[in-house]
């Protein structure tokens, strides 16, 4: 082992050349070269001389009383430096992003399988793991609350003393009961979504280094450094300035890194031992180490006139939040906001419930409640189309939301809302060639090289869906980002350095920041510094918000730097600043006669500006009526899926996905496509294979052997149509990009399966036995359509 400290590497990134550099170009990622060489330091790759390894003892029971914890044998195990329990938490024993209700280390009671009970630091990860086995915890096992619906029964055991209801969201829009009389057709349906995992590839990990001031430096993968910092400091009992966080390389996030994982534990062990401590979960532990997408049960009632005009929607959503709050109150709200879909609905009655159970805690995952809502709504829309004997795309277009549409929450949609256009575009893309019945390459058939069919029993189906989600934080939440931009001279060239706390998780916010600086300042060399807490908050890399928010902050800071330079140039030349621009490293007059190198203005000292960016204010919804202007912006995507189904074996091959999304402005078209393709793949996973299976509160499949995510064989080619309708309120007209493709992908695929098979398929992921075994889950009873006489 070398003696060099391995710490996050982003500060050493070089920038690409200017001709590929500005906004609207597919500038290459500044971290791309390091990543392909294996030199990019992820949070699990950190190393420092003398570091110890931390490990976590977790509860094997979903619900149990802790009678005693005996660490004596573990503490004397060879190589062990510390064994800590709840008694050793220096500050707040409870933490949480929204509500501090989760024990740093459990005492008294454990509420889910995998809840941390004790932590160990040792000189080898295997020594730490073996020491965990020496810790003796006596449990009195209790009956777990495992069903979300019965959790609301007043006689149910309580997961928390406050009861099992996290939040009931009510949205009352118009008068559903009065509207019933106008409906010629009413269709009802119940739908269920299984628990999906973010399954980011880089495991939870971090390195905590104690510092001489009694504080700690934590290098960690996360989505939001500042909210982590607050929680960690509170639990360590330290002031904020003694807990400094730096973003280490993040191997994907998708919502699963919003809540804390190794953070407090690694810091506690480092402060206790006086040694650096690294913690890395393995894959199995990762399944217990982060929250998941909420499993949902939904009920829908759509009423429409005979010609297909929606009259009312009545819908309910029940989310299993698991053992702790995490972001459940916000996820249920977001699910309810969009339960009626991307449609104009004159009357709606929506109820959403998030509950506590002793299942694994659920929280943020890409789409944040709107994924489940879109699956339910779009499933019932297809059912409505069938009842009306109407083309499902035509029905959707007829009711499509547009600018001015009043949402069930009473807010009028502003900004572009091209729902009908997106649907038309996916409908009008050429379909893949029909199978002609002759034998084809096995790899093009369901089951692939398993050689289970040569085309017999295969049916093709086509399905559509469209989704809507709010971009940025909704409901009156504080939402801003901060950027520092510094122009200096380095090696005879101008250099721009950008510093923000925005978490790069793979989505490309580092590329976007550099592109904006190149465009605004006309400088080729741009370095995006490592994100950390020494700069102001950038908010979370979630809600599809960073390009808008941190992009906005970087743009403002660049504008401020530019203004100072132009003022200096105006002084020097006597030309007014309006007639000067920054171009290719120079200040240039609009007639092109005068050219002054930028470095002339920063020869003595750099020019530096810090700016914050805020979007327009939102407000919380009314707790009784759900009314309020809760949202900043809306983003939309539509999908068309073509599937081949082996109806005898229940195997599915998605032949093609076609999608259209309005992105406002594609700052980096290649990265936008990457978001759309990746989001579509996660939607495909939810449709066909991804589910954390829970039995009596225990996870049955915490591995990539048993929790399946799409491989390159599962993913079909994706046809993409990107619209760029500028958003009036955002920098460059951008809109959020990352989440919408994850919404509509799932229901489009399942609607295609329904088209191919005629089956109801109420639940995702759809399993082979749902198709071939005709497994009709007894819980699912469907009211048939009621047609008014």
């Amino acid at each position: 082992m070398g003696s060099e400290v391995v710490l996050p590497t982003q500060q050493r990134l070089s920038s690409p050349t200017a001709d590929q550099g500005g906004i609207g170009t597919s500038a290459p990622r500044p971290d791309g070269t390091l990543k392909v060489k294996g030199d990019f330091a992820y949070s699990s790759d950190l190393w420092v001389e003398g570091m110890l390894w931390g490990a976590t003892l977790r509860s094997p029971h979903p619900r149990a009383r802790i009678l005693s914890i005996d660490i004596s044998e573990a503490a004397i195990y060879p190589g062990v430096y510390a064994v800590l329990t709840h008694e050793d938490v220096p500050g707040n024993k409870l933490y949480g992003m929204k509500v501090a209700d989760q024990p740093v280390l459990a005492w008294n009671e454990v509420r889910y399988q995998g809840e941390p009970v004790a932590i160990v630091a040792a000189d080898h990860p295997e020594a730490a793991r073996r020491a965990l086995e020496k810790i003796k915890v006596k449990y009195e096992v209790l009956e777990p609350v495992v069903d979300a619906k019965s959790a609301l029964d007043p006689n149910s055991p309580r997961v928390h003393p406050s009861g099992n209801l996290v939040r009931h969201v009510k949205i009352r829009h118009g008068d559903v009961e009065a509207a019933r009389s106008q409906a010629d057709v009413v269709v009802t349906g119940e739908y269920e979504v299984g628990m999906q995992d973010q399954a980011f590839l880089g495991p939870e990990s971090g390195l905590a280094i104690p510092s001489v001031d009694g504080g700690v430096d934590l290098y960690v993968s996360t989505q939001w450094l500042h909210t982590d910092q607050k929680q960690v400091a509170a639990s360590l009992g330290l002031p904020l300035d003694k807990v400094r966080l730096t973003l280490a390389g993040v191997g994907g996030a998708f919502g699963g890194r919003e809540d804390l994982s190794v953070h407090i534990h690694a810091c506690m062990l480092a402060l206790c031992t006086g040694r650096p401590v690294k913690m890395v979960y393995n894959r199995e532990e990762s399944f217990f180490g982060h929250v998941h997408r909420h499993p949902a049960r939904m009920y829908f009632e759509h009423g429409a006139t005979r010609d297909g005009r929606l009259v009312f929607v009545k819908a309910e959503m029940l989310l299993d939040g698991g053992a702790y709050t995490s972001t459940s109150q916000v996820v249920i709200a977001n699910g309810c906001y969009f339960l009626a879909g991307a449609y104009e609905v004159p009357n709606a009655r929506i109820d959403g419930y998030a509950v506590y159970t002793n299942n694994p805690p659920c929280g943020a995952m890409r789409g944040f409640g709107a994924v489940q809502a879109c699956y339910g709504c779009e499933s019932n829309m297809d059912r409505l189309a069938k009842a009306l004997d109407m083309d499902p795309v035509e029905l959707r277009i007829k009711n499509a939301m547009k600018p001015g549409t009043v949402l069930p929450t009473g807010q009028a949609v502003d900004g572009p809302a091209p729902v009908a256009e997106l649907l038309e575009r996916v409908r009008d893309m050429p379909l893949p060639p029909e199978r002609d019945g002759r034998f084809v390459d096995l790899r093009e058939l369901p089951g692939g090289v398993s050689n289970v069919t040569h085309g017999e029993g295969i049916r093709r189906g086509v399905g559509y869906a469209v989704g809507v989600k709010a971009i940025n934080y909704s409901g009156g939440a504080e939402d801003y980002s901060t950027a520092r931009v510094r122009l200096s001279e380095a090696g005879g060239e101008p250099l721009v350095e950008i510093h923000t706390a925005a978490a790069e998780c793979g989505q490309g916010i580092v590329t976007v920041q550099a592109q904006i600086a190149r465009t605004e300042l006309g400088v080729e060399r741009v370095i995006v510094l490592t994100a950390d807490t020494s700069i102001g908050d950038s908010g979370s890399s979630s809600a599809s918000r960073q390009t808008w928010m941190t992009g906005g902050a970087v743009k403002r800071a660049c504008e401020a730097v530019r203004e100072r330079i132009l003022d200096l140039a105006a002084e020097r030349t006597g030309i007014s600043p309006e007639k000067l621009v920054l171009q290719e490293g120079n200040v240039v007059s609009d007639d092109g006669d005068i050219v002054i190198p930028l470095i002339d203005f920063v020869a003595n000292e750099p020019i530096e500006e810090v700016r914050e960016f805020r979007h327009r204010k939102t407000e919380p919804i009314d707790p009784e009526t759900g009314q309020g202007n809760a949202h900043v912006a809306f983003a939309f995507a539509a999908h068309r899926a073509v599937v081949d189904v082996d109806v005898e074996l229940g195997l599915v091959r998605v032949v093609e996905l076609a999608t259209a999304e309005d992105v406002g402005k594609a700052i980096n078209p290649q990265a936008v496509e990457g978001q759309i393709e990746g989001g579509s793949a996660q939607g495909l996973g939810l449709a066909l294979m991804e589910e954390i299976q829970i039995e009596d509160g225990k996870v049955r499949n915490p591995s990539f052997t048993d929790y399946l995510i799409p491989t390159i064989l599962d993913m079909p080619p994706v046809k993409i149509d990107i619209l760029e309708l500028p958003h009036p309120d955002s920098p460059y007209g951008v809109n959020g990009v990352g989440e919408p493709p994850t919404l509509s992908s799932t229901p489009a695929i399942v609607n295609a399966l329904r088209d191919a098979t005629g089956l109801e398929l109420p639940r995702v992921p759809v399993r082979p036995d749902h198709i071939a075994g005709r497994v009709s889950d007894q819980r699912w009873t469907f009211a048939t359509k009621r047609t008014k006489q």
Partner: protein, 156 residues
């Protein structure tokens, strides 16, 4: 346990290796070669792919002792020169096949192995050969683009 093996062209001697350590652990934590990734450590994701005596393996499934006397090539050893990128690496950067990048080293080794066996693979062959490598960010489209681009350039 003492382990001797040739890693990226240099013979290495590693002392105090536990019998239960994987080749992946030795590469990462004892030799400081963090390019091979630890995403699942059970042979499902391909992120730790390396060459072991010329064969593509998941280094998490190789016990350290099995590597005794073997030649190992990791993602760090693909390019001939320190500052150069191998055409496969270059293609991954250019096509946008890298997002979070955690799967990238494994996919690059797997692509390298594929193009070594078959210089102009069809799309179906690309999919079949890379089916052991999980990626959670990209949806694989740009990875296929990268393999096509690398294949085109390497034949020249």
């Amino acid at each position: 346990m003492r382990l001797s093996c040739n890693v990226n062209g240099e013979w290495q001697q590693v002392d105090d290796v536990w019998e239960y350590e994987s080749l992946l652990y030795v590469l990462r934590e004892r030799l400081g070669l963090y390019g091979s990734k630890n995403a699942c450590e059970q042979g499902e994701c391909g992120s730790c792919s390396v060459y072991l005596d010329g064969a593509l393996v998941c280094s998490c499934l190789v016990m350290a002792g099995q590597a005794e006397g073997c030649e190992i090539v990791t993602v760090e050893g693909l390019s001939d020169r320190e500052d150069d990128l191998h055409p496969v690496q270059q293609a991954f950067v250019e096509t946008g096949a890298v997002q979070c990048g955690f799967c990238t080293p494994g996919l690059i080794i797997a692509t390298h192995a594929l193009l070594h066996r078959k210089s102009q693979p069809t799309d179906a062959e690309i999919r079949e050969n890379l089916a052991g490598n999980l990626c959670r960010c990209t949806g694989y489209e740009k990875i296929i683009d990268a393999v096509r681009l690398a294949a085109k350039r390497m034949v020249r």
